[in-house]
């Protein structure tokens, strides 16, 4: 099923783990792009969503000789705020890019940090993921309308769970949803779980009334009929999920969790152009398409002015939501 040579390579790579952990130096200044070393900063732990996206992108660029090897650093802390602060401190650095997304935008506000996304140099949006509204199989809510009615009747009585802390996508989504259906967001009873695993447990045990999260981690439970999706949050239906979009169900809200790439503030236009070009080439590689497929990410690539406007709009929206809640 696989060639022995590749197995050997895998073994050797595994043994070289220590070298990976310690990272390696940076050399620059050659004309050959495959010699050009870049650094990538990931704002959460190894194995998390940003990490998987960033490493997949870096691998696609390395394997196609668009660049040399990436030096990838995971900078954890305050849901990305620490990494954003570091990006500001690297002002003008011409060899650095940082993975980020909606959760980082929110975290910057909830942590009252000055290192906001608008201060950085926007490069590209890479992927997006819809949020799903999940209930246990024996829940009384059969449709999104049932849920909306119950929520309007008793805003605080509905226990809404999500896999992120305040300011994260699973927190922002129910708040904006509440706002869209006329429920006061400050009355929403949001219960934060530490990621998809604990949230699944709470849903399966029917400890909460409804869960809001990206659906990737729930596929098995949905297929098995243990969890039911009432609606998805994007502009179009999700393949393989038998649930309407919010707009189809008469709720005026489109919400997606997205991930993209920023560069430090103060880099030259030429450098910005170079990084944009690099990611555009990356986006066209077969490796990247495979990664999208394998991870269930939806392609939503944008660069230049389009991404800049999008970032500003998102920043605005997040700030509004969190300020209304008194969290920013």
């Amino acid at each position: 099923m696989h060639r022995p040579g590749r197995t050997l390579v895998a073994l050797l790579l595994a043994l070289a783990l220590a070298a990976v952990v310690s990272g390696c130096g940076v050399t620059r200044g050659s004309d050959d792009p495959s010699n050009r070393r870049l650094r990538m900063m990931i704002p959460n732990s190894v194995g998390g969503g940003y990490d998987l996206t960033g490493r997949a992108a870096a691998r696609a660029m390395e394997d196609n000789d668009l660049t040399g090897r990436f030096e990838i650093t995971n900078v954890q802390g305050a849901s990305g705020t620490v990494a954003m602060q570091r990006l500001v401190n690297e002002k003008g650095a011409d060899d650095l890019m940082m993975l980020m997304g909606l959760g980082v935008v929110g975290a910057v506000y909830t942590n009252r940090s000055g290192a906001t996304p608008l201060k950085m140099t926007p490069i590209a949006r890479l992927v997006e993921e819809q949020e799903g509204i999940l209930v246990p199989a024996d829940s009384p809510f059969e449709t999104i309308d049932d849920l909306v009615d119950a929520w309007r009747e008793d805003p605080g009585g509905l226990a809404v769970g999500g896999g992120s802390s305040n300011g994260g996508p699973d927190h922002l989504f129910p708040m904006q949803l509440a706002d869209a259906i006329g429920v006061d967001p400050t009355k929403v009873n949001y219960i934060s779980y530490d990621g998809g695993g604990p949230l699944t447990t709470a849903l399966l045990g029917a400890k909460i009334d409804v869960g809001m999260s990206g659906l990737g981690e729930f596929e098995g439970q949905i297929e098995d009929g243990k969890l039911r999706v009432l609606a998805v949050s994007g502009a179009e239906r999700l393949e393989g999920i038998d649930a309407p979009t919010l707009t189809e169900a008469g709720v005026d809200l489109v919400f997606t969790n997205w991930r993209g790439v920023l560069a430090p503030p103060g880099i030259s236009d030429a450098q910005r152009e170079y990084l944009t070009e690099l990611l555009t080439e990356m986006h066209d590689t077969a490796e990247w398409r495979e990664a999208l497929e394998a991870n269930g990410w939806t392609d939503n690539f944008a660069t230049g002015q389009e991404f800049e406007d999008f970032l500003a709009e998102q920043d605005d929206r997040v700030a509004d939501t969190l300020k209304e809640l008194g969290l920013a």
Binding site: A10, L204, G205, G220
Partner: protein, 504 residues
């Protein structure tokens, strides 16, 4: 049964055996390094594994997982530098044993205990996984809160000779546990975003144990003659075996169910096992000075809990630890539908994994048992060099997590706290328990009360919670009765004891 035999056939092909061995070695190596855990290793290996077969990759991951659990205990015992949060408790008695020349015995009881616990737990995994899956999710925050109250209750067993000092340590630990923004409010972060996620228990433990001790030794190097660590016997004596086997079994009994519970974790059972062994031992005078039971029990508990976490993973597709979460990502990367149907859809993969856990366990024993006397000789390095090495090792571990100089400063500050705790005879264990339990206790309480919208009666709304509170009440009554029967005991610590307490 046929499925299991097929599983062994998958696990015992030369190639998969090689991957299991590689996983075990890697796991032991990263378990030894504080800061780099099995979760991070698996994540870094993820891209590599997609070029090998799914069964080989998962088998290697299982090896890393078990190896990490074991490797963490080696440095705990030898260097007082726990590599993983689940081996923090091992350091308490294990390092004392090492100082008394019994490092080989401590390592051996840890290795054999891990093997025994891992094997029993793997068998339990075969038997119960299909059945208990639906039960574990019925436990909600009220039940976890009750279980953690029980653990807090057990702290009384480890407060030490002076209750006042014990409580000082406990409250210091609870205060350290408050740091962070987990409740949505920033507490004790002093506006520093680097403190927003709280202080990692491994950093606290390494600082208090290793840095605190290094400072203490440095401060006394010239005033006290060098204690030569006796060489001791290379193998476990008959008495050691006799004192170890019951703690192994009890540790397994604590570890497996806690591992199988989605919010159980590996730290609580190690601590409950330690407290139990301290109460049941026939040699209470040795606790705090290197009691073998205090190593055997917790080590069995942490391995059994590692196996337990696979129950929700395989039966429900529920990852309950960081390591399990990454194993799940790997399975999904291979296109497997992880969830309640994994066991029915891919029995070969699941049983191959279960069989390879057994193999990994056996490999660990074979690798580590002969190593124990060799490792023990490490302690004969002259102390200035040994402690320099420990300091280097501890700093590397703290730094490698995040590449933040801030973590080194944190390590030093907490190390100085450890130094003064030694100076004033304040026990370390209650502090560690406070750091572990405080945030968990609070998280479960706030979740329970948020869901019930502030109705306190939710706390005894689940049967498991009621049972746990009843057990606590019975224990309280039993302790009160025992206290009435022997009112004169224990006597106040004599001046000799006090002195010894401070010396430690």
């Amino acid at each position: 049964m046929d499925l299991l035999l097929d599983g062994f056939q998958t696990a015992l092909t030369p190639e998969n055996l090689l991957f299991a061995a590689l996983g075990v070695l890697l796991g032991t190596a990263v378990g030894v390094l504080p800061g780099i855990g099995p979760a991070m290793t698996l994540a870094l290996l993820l891209p590599v594994t997609y070029s090998v077969g799914a069964d080989s990759a998962i088998i290697m991951f299982a090896g890393i997982y078990y190896g990490g659990m074991y490797g963490g205990s080696t440095t705990s015992i030898l260097l007082n530098t726990p590599g993983e949060s689940s081996s923090v408790i091992t350091a308490i008695e294990g390092n004392k044993m090492a100082k008394a020349g019994r490092a080989a015995q401590a390592l051996a009881t840890a290795a054999i205990g891990s093997f025994v616990a891992g094997s029993i737990a793997t068998v339990l995994l075969w038997i119960v996984t299909p059945q208990v899956a639906d039960i574990v999710v019925t436990l909600g925050s009220p039940s976890y809160f009750a279980l953690m109250m029980l653990a807090l209750f057990a702290v009384t067993a480890v407060l030490g000779a002076s209750k006042l000092r014990g409580f000082i340590a406990l409250f210091l630990g609870l205060a350290i546990g408050l740091v962070g923004t987990s409740t949505g409010q920033a507490r004790l972060t002093f506006g520093e975003p680097l403190l927003a996620d709280g202080i990692d228990i491994v950093v606290v433990a390494v600082a208090l144990f290793a840095i605190g001790e290094a400072l203490w030794v440095a401060a006394h190097l010239r005033r006290k003659p060098l204690e030569i660590i006796p060489v001791g016997q290379p193998w476990m004596s008959k008495e050691d075996w006799g004192r170890s086997w019951k703690p192994w079994l009890r540790g397994t009994a604590f570890g497996f169910p806690f591992g199988a519970l989605p919010a159980g974790g590996a730290e609580l059972p190690t601590f409950l096992s330690y407290a139990t062994e301290k109460r049941l031992t026939k040699h209470p005078e040795e606790f705090g000075k290197g009691a073998i039971e205090g190593v055997a029990g917790p080590e069995a508990a942490n391995n059994a809990s590692a196996a337990g976490t696979l129950v929700p993973l395989l039966a429900l597709g529920l990852p309950t630890t960081a390591t399990a979460a990454i194993m799940l990502v790997a399975l999904q990367g291979y296109g497997f539908q992880t969830g309640p149907t994994l066991m029915d859809d891919h029995p070969d993969l699941v049983w191959g994994l279960l069989a390879s856990l057994f193999v990994a366990n056996a490999l660990l024993l074979v690798l580590n048992l002969p190593m124990a006397p060799l490792w023990a000789r490490l302690l004969r390095i002259p102390r200035p060099y040994l402690y320099a090495g420990i300091l280097f090792f501890a700093s590397l571990g703290a730094y490698s997590v995040n590449f933040q100089a801030f973590d080194l400063a944190l390590l030093l500050v907490l190390g100085i706290l450890g130094f003064f705790m030694r100076r004033f005879g304040i026990p370390v264990l209650p502090l560690i328990i406070g750091v572990i339990l405080g945030p968990k206790l609070e998280e479960q309480l706030t979740t329970a009360l948020k869901i019930s919208q502030g109705d306190v009666s939710t706390l005894w709304s689940e049967p498991v919670a009621v049972v746990v509170y009843a057990v606590m009440a019975l224990l309280l009554v039993a302790m009160a009765v025992a206290g009435l029967r022997r009112p004169a005991e224990p006597p106040a610590p004599s001046p000799q004891d006090e002195k010894e307490l401070i010396e430690r």
